[in-house]
Amino acid sequence: MSKYGLFLGCNTPALRPDVEHGIRYSMEKLGVDLVDLPGYVCCPAFGTFPSSDEYAQLAVNAWNLSLAEEQGVNLAVQCGSCYSSLRMGSHIMEEAPKREKVNEILAKGGKHYQGKARPHHMLDILYNEVGVDRIQGKLQRRLDGLRAIVQFPCHTLYPSDVVGFEPDKGPPHVLTDLLEALGASVEHYSLEHQCCGGAGGFHKADSGAAHGFLKSKLDAIAAETEADLIVVSCITCLMWMDNQQKTLSEGNGHSYSLPVFDLNQLLALCLGAPPEHVAAISTVPRERITDRFK
């Protein structure tokens, strides 16, 4: 059984703990032991310390990484920007002189980062460590008959030499392969690789453009596919694509209501978890999917 420190970040445990429960449930069933990281803090998010002071960013990254290192584990992360922040930070700190300078700051807080603990995204662990075959062998229920589209988490793709874990070059397929392993069929559409629009700084700067991204995606999904649901693996994609369909529907004449799930939520459902624990919180109703699991 492999073991990871579960790095939850801020949004998931505070606003979407059902996703957290889905992660805990599914990973345990698949033989991945997740331990808590007592005293962890915000990754830091790109709009905070990384936008104001590089060494403050690295010190906070190192704080979190050192907590995992103390327990002798790597980190498991679902949130795209937490993953990217921690991954890029640990990459920068591979350089010993940088790491030493960070450690001088970190020492004021009584911590030290040796550069051993590294963050891994949930999709990476599921695909490259657990593997599609082992997942399929454990399923109690399947998503047969459901058609899905996916939103690839951008923070896990680029820059590929630092954050990437796709097995080959070319279009990403880890998320689609995992979803197909659960029995869903994955449909493709023209705006599949367009940004969801959910990043904080972006929708603060131009809310119209951010909503426009989601609207054009939803319109393309409706025109080009018969999708029953959207599947993501990033809390920002999940909350934005789920919450904003309501905003887009208001005064629009057209009502958007395509349920959005995190992959680990669906995985947990297929492994026997009750929907009221792992898929309870959403703006778009998703009973038409979760009722299958009652």
């Binding site: 606003l15 007592p38 905070t48 906070v60 940004c195 700084g201 603060k204």
Partner: protein, 169 residues
Amino acid sequence: MIDLEQAEVIPDMWREVFESEDIRFCFNCGSCISVCPASNADPPLLIRRLARMVLLGLEDELLDEDTPWSCVSCSKCEEVCPMGVRPFELGLAIRRWQVRNDETRIPPSLVELYKEGYTQPVSRALETRAAVGLGELPTIDKDPELLKAYQKMLMATDVVSNNDYMFKG
């Protein structure tokens, strides 16, 4: 349009903004913009243009630029830049340079992170968590000594110590 006849130009300014010398290899190809979601914002984030402003040393104009703050942090630009400029990192470096030169640019969220450690009420979401069958998390506030140690560490960073009045009290 920036009027270069009128603008004040500081030739070595890029060294203050971006640690990486590779910015000098930017040859204006625009690949970064072609993949950039935030280039669709109004006003558009045009990372190539920002690289030019940094290299030309257009201090006043760059201090006034809000567009670096609309980046979605997808790093697509880093993937495609043929010259290894690392445009995403450049955008963050411009934000940091603005923050160093203008305290009104300091993200207010830093204070929250200093005081509580999180951008969301992670330690107070007890009901939401209980409703889906989850208990409390070992958040940093549960260990006051550890929270103090974390704050002491942050106090040793430039952005916090140089602006300590924002964080105390």
